[in-house]
Symmetry: T
Subunit: 149 residues, 12 copies
């Protein structure tokens, strides 16, 4: 069965806990569940990883090279600082969907640049947890072809 990798970067384990006015009340478990449900409608499995360690995320992306067909990623703060994460994504050559739950364009200037966007297929910003679902649907369309769920 085809599989997607879901990557959540540093601090996203605090979802639903930290700064709900910015990030909402859904937890990381809610996100993973939503992604699984959405993916299953397209016949796709989901491998999920969250870590505050850049290296763990890179290792997981490397591991997906032969086992997954696409990557949904919310790199968190690493979006703006990690060339290593970018290189991991281009290194495994899988289609990437970048998700940010809050509208980064309304926040500090250093959050306006992403090292991932120009190597991603799509970028969804500000749609809360639904952004993950959108991302899965788009990747699914690319991976499984035009048939809808």
């Amino acid at each position: 069965m085809t599989r997607l990798l879901l990557v959540n970067g540093p601090n996203l384990n605090l979802l639903g806990v930290r700064e709900p006015e910015t990030y909402g009340t859904a937890t990381l478990d809610d996100v993973v569940e939503l992604v699984r449900v959405t993916a299953s409608r397209w016949g796709l499995e989901v491998e999920a990883v969250q870590s505050n360690h850049e290296g763990v995320l890179i290792d997981a992306i490397h591991a997906a090279r032969l086992t997954c067909a696409g990557i949904v990623i919310n790199p968190g703060a690493l979006t703006h600082t990690s060339v290593a994460l970018r290189d991991a994504l281009t290194g495994v050559a899988l289609p990437v969907a970048e998700v940010h739950m809050s509208n980064v364009h309304r926040r500090e200037p250093f959050r306006h640049h992403s090292y991932v966007s120009d190597i991603a297929e799509i970028v969804v910003v500000g749609a809360g947890v639904q952004g993950y679902a959108f991302a899965v649907e788009r990747l699914a369309g690319l991976v499984t072809g035009p048939a809808t769920p």
Copy 2:
């Protein structure tokens, strides 16, 4: 019946004609139809406008102030240059979803900045015509509440 305004900026009338390797083969009519169908699943009507004249777009946005509940907009090239369009959007105080079919982050640097993103609820980049559908769904969720279609 609740209504959304769909705004397409300059040159988007050429969709499916100009630079298909960048913008795909769907036409503007296809986009409008997709938006209508998606919106109707949420019980929403769609008012659609496309123009190469900034003033026409601003007039249409003003007109939507009392008749529409949200705006889906692909400002085309005006994304990067029009403060007037931005002011029109903030002036009518409706929720905005910004859509770009191609991945602007892969293109010229002057396309990396948007005068709309920080006043939009969501931004969807690189998802082709499906980006419009995502945008409608997100706006519908904001406008009609959590019930799904």
Copy 3:
């Protein structure tokens, strides 16, 4: 009878409607009336134009070349983006008074630069609708000479 051209740029038709905390409650009609009353005290007529179309504004400025003695302009968002409007103003070679109702220096950085200020005789910022009256009085002084109303 000597005449002034009053130019109001995009979105100023929303005066009194949009963002009253920024722009106050006076409407565009109130502005035009205030300008007419002030001008009449100096024996001046007023030609007024507002449009959301840059081209309409440029055409009106061109038309004023032989019929008006000065221009009071609030270019709205075009202040910050339109070289064409600037060129129209220098092209007709009339004295220009630039007015901004809100204090643009308190707003986004992209509103801190004006393509009009260095070709204007005076710039009045943050004085609300009274700024228009100030501008008329100053232009009147330049046009009709030192005699006061």
Copy 4:
């Protein structure tokens, strides 16, 4: 009786003497007189200070905290360099009107930025000595209410 503070910064004692092609022929005394006359029409007294010493200006502003209802200021060259003057103005929490007799936007780039504008109520540029009168009228309107002189 309500009082306004009139502050003129460095070199403005040379008004009417230095560079008349830029600053006109009115002297500092003319400016003070014009401000007094204009203010008196609104029932306001004027306290006037000019100094080439930044510290004297700051001391005067501090002194106005409990004795004046507003400040008309032409900071001269300190406009572009003095954070201390800015802090003095915000420290006394009085409404401020900033005046520049010449059009600073036509001069050297280092004159295009003001440390005062974003904390002022209004800014009047290029209106010569009349700019002071405008400023008084605007402050008077804020201080004494909508009644006109």
Copy 5:
């Protein structure tokens, strides 16, 4: 018969009227006539448009997609600000010759950048109305082949 589109941007209707020390005394009609005569020597017809409305120019360029073989354009002030015009030109995929009558490199810094130059075949700057003739000849050479008139 093969046809060229001649596009003149905002304020070029003032040619021969505004700022003759910068733009010379030839009128827009003179320019159009010169372009027609030059083109006819190569067996080419000319379709001419001038507008102060960006949208009208874009519409005209779109219309030329199937009817013209090349575009001679003096975008006026839009040279420096309009991504929409640029996108219209790339959208119709015709060879473009950019003309500026005055030497823009001697003017304000914001006139030193062009959104058209890197998508044009040639750029002619500072040659007055003769620049249009040069542009027609060069485009004619590209369109009709190496034979000279």
Copy 6:
């Protein structure tokens, strides 16, 4: 008993070993001991972590969310590069005191910016190991109230 978290970033395990001319001869153990002694005078316990792994530091900060009342942090080189660490600190919403032993303002320009300073309560620079003691005292004041040790 109330507890503070002491966080030391990458390479601070080399304290007293590497570059004594810059960092002095005190070791990391000396720092921890000083912090413990100072904190105990305010009736506070100390949890100490040092790691060269950004992820370990983030995990420790997360763990402190419910167990500690404040954070004393010397982020080392991560000061200048880690948005993830910043987000961890804001995520747990505890008061933060930032400490740098050497005077970073005398070093390379890339050390002049800190991703932590604007979210910290206080910043102490250049005071050597005493900076940690200062930081504890200030945090203690915030946490335990005005009573002195």
Copy 7:
């Protein structure tokens, strides 16, 4: 008896009066008293100066060259603009401790740079009046040696 110079820059005479939400309610007298008490615990006398006149501050620093052993300075707004103050400090070659009561890193960008920090021994930011005490203690340590009060 060894002596420290305490320098407070422009507007700090308003302490406890202006903007208490930023600067707290302690007055300048409170600051001087706190500094005296802290210094006396180390056997140090204090010479205190506050002025809104840059020149007065420079003169005081010069005077301290032979009479004081260190300088505690809160340059206020001059922090960001005065090279002359910096040169006075380096000119007398005494150890300097820089203090800012509020967290300047949370304020306007022009407050993020200091002309003093790279010539100071320590910098304490955001610790309110306690920052002065910290500074005295650190200077005392440098001046009187390792013995604690």
Copy 8:
């Protein structure tokens, strides 16, 4: 007989040899011949110099001060780096036509600036060898008056 100086800068001796996809197949001899033929139609002689030595070019320009009536120059790479060449051109006070065969606006950013353009009468970019002919014709018009060949 009136004479023009034709100056070709470094590496233009490789014309027709190096990078034909950028510079075409015409050789430097072809360029010189085209310039001579074009000039002769206006009754003008041509003095031609090409060198990879900046000093040789400057010497040749100096020599032209009393013997030539205008200069056609393709400075090659010196366009972007040589103030000395610019000074030579202004020093001899002859009208200058600047030619670039390729479209420098499509190339590296360091080729977008020219030290010659703002002192030239005209600039022709991207027209291949025909650009030289255009330049000669324009200079001839300036030198010999409006009569056409």
Copy 9:
């Protein structure tokens, strides 16, 4: 026996797998073997580490402080982002040779700056796996003296 540390940063475990057109077909094992062989010709042992975890690399560098005589490092993406890695290298005070297999100067601008180059003895760019051998030889020369293998 004298020892060198060979450090390979994030994603270099994918050597020979990812993007062979950029990085070639040699694997990380090939690199390590080449380094060992080259070093052994100089009588040097090699300790090799590769990790996607910045912290692991820093720990390894710290460990080398007393056991190795020099460091050959290809920091991968951390070259451009990691001050912590830089500080680890300066902290252990061993001679460093920086290697990049591809020519980073031909890639994205964010790869043109290195936090390591100015603290390294040598930098070798674009020489593929041979760059490692060069680096070893150079370090060997520094470590073992002028005698050649």
Copy 10:
């Protein structure tokens, strides 16, 4: 008898005292004496002022408007920060010679820009006290004509 004004800015009273390795051992009195002696050789008197107060310097320059024929100025740190001093100099319209004893180009970047240089007749940098003598001689030549002392 014709007179020159000699202006020395903040901290120059410390000449010969502060930082002799940068400024040498000559005192301010030595400078004034040298200037007097040099001037007297041209039949010129000298009025000398030094102050750490910008306002005092401006007042002195104003006073020189009618009594002096030229100004020799070493503005010290105000060189880099004071627009007010610049305006005073242009306000009195006397020829100005700018002197810096040390080579400011070897010092901090903020000392590389001068607000005085572009309004001065000459600038002498790095010549120690002799720079003053050079400046007097040059001004004397301008003031008294070509006759040498």
Copy 11:
């Protein structure tokens, strides 16, 4: 017999003479000899040129187009300023190895950019005269194939 061109730029004739602490004691003759010996081990001849004249270097590179198989170049100061040299190298389309004996990354910022690096095959920095030998070996490998000397 296959040949390499060795190019040394301005001031490299002073090798071993000027600034030995930066460049070492080897002379230019030593460099040429080392390059010859290294090349001969690969069966390659060497043509060597050094000049302080940019034009001479360009001429030599042009001459190598048909006679050499690769270029080892230390452009000296021209590295940072000469587009003409860059164009000469790309014009002859030979593989290039760039060598800098000192570590340019430790020197002035204007030495951090090279106009050659992105068109070179390899760049060797800081390896002293050995850098030339490395460069020859690498070029030899490219020119003669994988066989080792």
Copy 12:
């Protein structure tokens, strides 16, 4: 007999010919004569070189290494562009006096930076031909000691 080298850069052979309003009417011969006369008063000989070829200037500077005691240089346009000239000057390790006849600070921004100033002993700007004499006197003082001519 001790000797100085006088270096004049490109276009200075045109002195007295080109742009007299900027450079005056003195010729290069006048400059050389003035320098010789001034030098002879200090018992110094002068070696003079002027060239439009950077390489010739560098060669002359190299030649001066063993024969001259100091260098007076007006690098002309090379001031702003030539790192090679700078390196030649530092390479021969002689004291340098930089002279510019016109006030470069009043001219184009690209003339505000000098590659020579921070390696020169003194810089004299705007003093016309007298600047050379000042430079000689200063160098003579450094070379021959404090005795005056």
